[in-house]
């Protein structure tokens, strides 16, 4: 085994793995800003970016909520209604979690 190979096989390999993961993650984190600073933001691009927050939320939660069945769907609906009524995010969150806990306690 050459020097580099035995270095990677030593406990320093984990340091290298974490460094590598950190590096690619940081590149993902900065890439959007770097690219957009070199692109002229047309109305079309702006429309696309404006759709992102809601899109990323639905793309993240929909499969998870459906996998967890009707209690998760009811809890999510209650959370959204509580948030719409109060506009206080922590109230919406607690309403949703409370609903889920109650359904599971009796289910």
């Amino acid at each position: 085994m050459n020097g580099f190979g035995s270095f990677i096989a030593s406990p320093w390999g984990s340091v290298l793995a974490i460094t590598g993961m950190t590096l690619v993650t940081f590149l993902c984190r900065i890439a959007g800003v770097v690219v957009m600073s070199r692109v002229r933001i047309t109305p079309r691009i702006e429309r696309g970016l404006r759709a992102l927050p809601g899109s990323i939320i639905l793309a993240t939660i929909l499969p998870v909520v459906i996998d967890n069945g009707w209690p998760a769907m009811v809890a999510l609906a209650v959370a959204i209604m509580a948030m719409a009524a109060t506009r206080i995010d922590i109230v919406g969150l607690m309403a949703g979690l409370g609903t889920l806990a109650v359904i599971r306690a009796f289910g």
Binding site: S14, V15, T19, G54, L58, A59, P63, A72, D89
Partner: protein
């Protein structure tokens, strides 16, 4: 917007840091549950405390940390290091889009502060920052304050999970396994501007469901998000 002074130019203030730290509060439960789960899983997998904290402190991206554990090695080779870097990049590629929306807000910031802000970028912090920005706020301190406090919460609860994870009660009993999805759902409400602007969200949701059914892993998130952005560009 009577509450917020008209400050439409991006700026930075230390009072913004405090404001951001307070605004981050609703994201705490999700961060705590996820970091506890990660710390617990890392200890069970046999990672050292240094490796576990290193992943949480520097990679600081929950889904990729969890996936990383699945392919973690006792003895590394160049090939396994390349694999874990590739998998991490795929799971975290969605962050490219988060950064893209922040660019107009950050473009006059000094580079080191933007680097720190982006190093600490997470979906939850970004959603809180986006809400603040949509309501007219332009203080970059809010984004950074939110990010800093969430990072500290993440580190502290990774530590607790590493040592005490096995002692904690079953999170499912309290509905805490779904705390992150429910928080995200709550953050959808202030984004709502009527049915038509939400049409891309529907596309995003449908595409993510299809991809989730067909492809294992976390690919459904970026696939759905990309579909939503493209739909937003196409719908006049």
């Amino acid at each position: 917007m009577t509450l917020m002074p008209p400050a439409l130019r991006p700026h930075f203030s230390y009072s913004g840091l405090r404001h951001g730290a307070r605004a981050a509060l609703p994201a705490f439960p999700g961060f705590i549950m996820f970091a506890l789960a990660f710390g617990t899983a890392a200890a069970q997998k046999g990672l050292s405390l240094g490796e576990t904290m290193g992943l949480s402190a520097f990679v600081y991206a929950g889904a990729s940390q969890m996936v990383g554990l699945e392919i973690w090695q006792q003895v590394w080779t160049p090939a396994t290091i390349l694999t874990i870097m590739t998998v991490t990049a795929v799971v975290n590629a969605r962050m490219i889009m988060l950064g893209a929306t922040l660019q107009p807000w950050l473009k006059h910031e000094p580079l080191p502060r933007t680097a720190l802000n982006l190093f600490l970028l997470t979906e939850a912090g970004w959603l809180i920052g986006t809400r603040y920005h949509n309501e007219g706020g332009r203080d970059v301190g809010v984004l950074l304050g939110c990010a800093l406090i969430l990072w500290l919460v993440w580190l502290a609860t990774t530590f607790v999970g590493f040592f005490a994870g096995a002692l904690l009660p079953e999170p499912k009993r309290f509905g805490l396994d779904l705390v992150m999805p429910i928080f995200f759902g709550v953050m959808l409400v202030p984004l709502w501007k009527g049915a038509k602007p939400a049409l891309p969200w529907l596309v995003a949701g449908l595409v993510s469901l299809i991809v989730h059914a067909l492809v294992p892993g976390y690919l459904f998130i970026i696939a759905g998000a990309l579909a939503g952005v493209i739909a937003g560009m196409l719908i006049e």
